[in-house]
Symmetry: C2
Subunit: 155 residues, 2 copies
């Protein structure tokens, strides 16, 4: 599987999230031979669960693994500190990022710590999330930990 094919899986997850009324961010974890280990999407709204970001959902759905060094995390959005911490703690080797314009988390920190990071700069990822943020800035702020009184300052 190439980068585009892997990213398609994450984008499909983001679209599923949107259809469910949730934040359209998707992710998938692959092994180095391209086998899909797990995929998922942000579930804050659907499950009222603030702990499930796209990356943590994909990680959870991949089940218990004993070695993540050769795995690849593909996500539609630059991973926040929470999800960057997940990547670092479990030694996920590669992160493919759909876009990092709407939000940029810990991707530079991951690079500094030996993680291979690839940014696809995908317009579909940007469009999906930006349309959601425009309609629901308060949910987006909640999802990245920006206190609600700042909502009006967000785009």
């Amino acid at each position: 599987m190439n980068i585009e094919e892997m990213l398609k899986v994450a984008i499909s997850e983001a679209r599923t999230g949107l259809e469910e009324g949730g934040i359209p961010i998707g992710a998938a974890l692959f092994s180095d031979d391209g086998t899909l280990l797990g995929k998922g999407h942000n579930r804050r709204v659907q499950d009222d669960d603030p702990a499930i970001h796209a990356e943590t959902d994909a990680f959870r759905n991949a089940g218990r693994q004993t070695d993540y060094r050769k795995t690849v995390m593909v996500t539609t959005l630059s991973p926040c500190w929470y999800c960057s911490g997940l990547v670092r703690q479990f030694g996920i080797g590669t992160v493919i990022i759909g876009e990092n314009e709407t939000f940029k988390g810990g991707e530079d920190w991951l690079k500094e710590n030996g993680v291979k990071v690839i940014v696809a700069d995908n317009s579909e990822c940007k469009q999906l999330l930006n349309q959601f943020i425009e309609k629901h800035p308060e949910i987006w702020n909640e999802d990245i930990g920006v206190p609600c009184e700042c909502s009006n300052d967000e785009n």
Copy 2:
């Protein structure tokens, strides 16, 4: 509530985890007036869920919040990078750590980024986890992302 009382809640969660056959690490999230918002424990073994560390379980069980700046995360063990990332992303103001001898995660990084960190150096926390690690080094390694071929090198 003082530090000791808050830590007792986290230790009680760790003990519940142990009784369930899981890794004995517990956590709780409090508001600044001492109200318990959520508590939880590591669920890797019980739920076969690698994404649920004690801190993420407590965070989840606290439900959707819009401002974490005045909250206090109490955990029996120094938070790993995953859980440290959670604290940083959501702006949790204070972290109280039962012990950081058995494992030390991102607590210094959190301090550098403005989080108040208090280490209680609690012997009960150490004893609970060390007894578990002695019996199940492979589960412990899995939980912190240490590949399984290294299991024999762990204490």
